[in-house]
C-alpha cells in the first residue's frame, strides 16, 4: 500500500464517521427553544445528541440551589412515582377549578400532561411516557448532569413539550 492509498483510506474512514455522526445527531432529534419577550425574539434549534454530550461537561445548573437539593432528597420516591405512570390508564389525577385559575394534571395515551391557566399565565407541559421512563432512570443517579436530562429527550416524537405564556413573555420548547 502506498502512502497516497493509506491517506485515501483514512480520509474515507473520517468521512464515513462524519456522516454517521450527522445521521446520529439527526436521528436523536432537535429541541427547538423559542423565546419571545418585548425586547427579544429567539429561535434556537439544539441538537439533542450534542446537548447530551455537552451536558456531560457542564455541571447541572440547579445543583447548588437549596430548593433543588431539598427536592433531590426525594429522588428515589419521585423515580418510583415516574415508574408508576406508564402502567396507569388514562386519567385525570388532579383537577382544580376556581374563578382565577384552572389546573389539570392528567395522562392521555402516551403523554403525561400538566395544564395551568391563570389570569396572567398559561402553562402547558407534555411529557411523552418514554421520556418519563428515561427520566426515572435519571432520578436513580444521585448526581445527574445536564446531559442525562437531554438524553431523556432522544428519539421522541415531534411536538410541544413545554409552553409557557405570561403577560410579558412566551417560551416554547418543542421536539422536532
Amino acid at each position: 500500500m502506498t502512502v497516497k492509498t493509506a491517506f485515501k483510506y483514512i480520509a474515507l474512514s473520517l468521512l464515513i464517521l462524519f456522516i454517521a455522526g450527522i445521521i446520529y445527531v439527526i436521528q436523536a432529534g432537535f429541541a427547538l427553544v423559542s423565546v419571545r419577550t418585548p425586547d427579544t425574539r429567539m429561535w434556537l434549534p439544539v441538537p439533542i445528541a450534542l446537548g447530551q454530550i455537552a451536558g456531560k461537561m457542564v455541571e447541572f445548573p440547579l445543583k447548588q440551589d437549596k430548593e433543588f437539593q431539598e427536592f433531590w432528597k426525594y429522588r428515589e420516591e419521585i423515580g418510583q412515582l415516574l415508574r408508576l405512570l406508564p402502567g396507569l390508564p388514562d386519567a385525570d389525577f388532579v383537577e382544580v377549578q376556581s374563578a382565577k385559575e384552572q389546573i389539570r394534571i392528567f395522562k392521555r395515551g402516551d403523554s403525561f400532561c400538566v395544564q395551568v391557566t391563570g389570569p396572567d399565565e398559561k402553562i402547558n407541559l407534555r411529557l411523552p411516557i418514554e421520556t418519563i421512563e428515561r427520566l426515572a432512570e435519571v432520578f436513580d443517579d444521585s448526581s445527574p448532569d445536564l446531559g442525562d436530562f437531554f438524553a431523556s429527550l432522544k428519539g421522541q416524537s415531534a411536538g410541544d413539550l413545554i409552553y409557557v405564556k405570561t403577560n410579558t413573555e412566551e417560551v416554547r420548547i418543542s421536539i422536532w
Partner: protein, 181 residues
Amino acid sequence: MKKISRPVVAIALAALISLPLWAQQKKDPWLHVEVRESKDEPEIVKVNLPFSMVDVALKIAQDKKLNGGKFRLQSTELSVPDLKKIWTEFKKAGNADFVTVEKKTENVKISREGNYLLIKVSENKQQKVDLRVPVDVVDALLAAPGDELDIKAALVAMQQKGNSEILSVNDKDTKIRIWVD
C-alpha cells in the same frame, strides 16, 4: 361437532390476553377526593390517585407531623392512647349507638353498624357530616404505638376494602367526598 368461527376465537383470545392487564388494573384501587367550595370564589378540587402512588406520596409528604405515614396527634383534650381505650370499648359493644347528642339545631350520632363506624352530624335537619369508616380501617389507624396515628396502615386497610365511600361532608359552603374504587 360445530366449528367455532374465527371471529369468536379471536375475541376469546383477545379477552384472555387482556385479562391479566384488566386484573392488574383492578388490583390497584384508586383513592378519590372531591372538594367543592361555594363561597365568594367557588372552587372545585378533584384528586384521583391509585393507592400505589398515595403510598409513595406519603413518603414525600413534607409536613413535619406526617413522618413515615404516621401522624402525631397533638391534642390536649384527647390523646391517642385515650382514643385507643375508647375504641376498644366500642368494639366490645358490637352494633350499638355510642354517642347520641340531640340539640335544638344540631344532632350528632356515633354508632357501629356491622363492619362500619358511622358518624353523622346534622344541622337544622340537614345532613352535614356523613362519615362511614370500615372498622378495619379504624383498627389500622390506631395500631401504631404511642401517640401516633398510622395513616399509612389506614390507607392499606382502605385499599383492601375496595369499593367504598369513606367520607361525605355537606356544609353550607363546602362539600367533601372521599371514596375508594
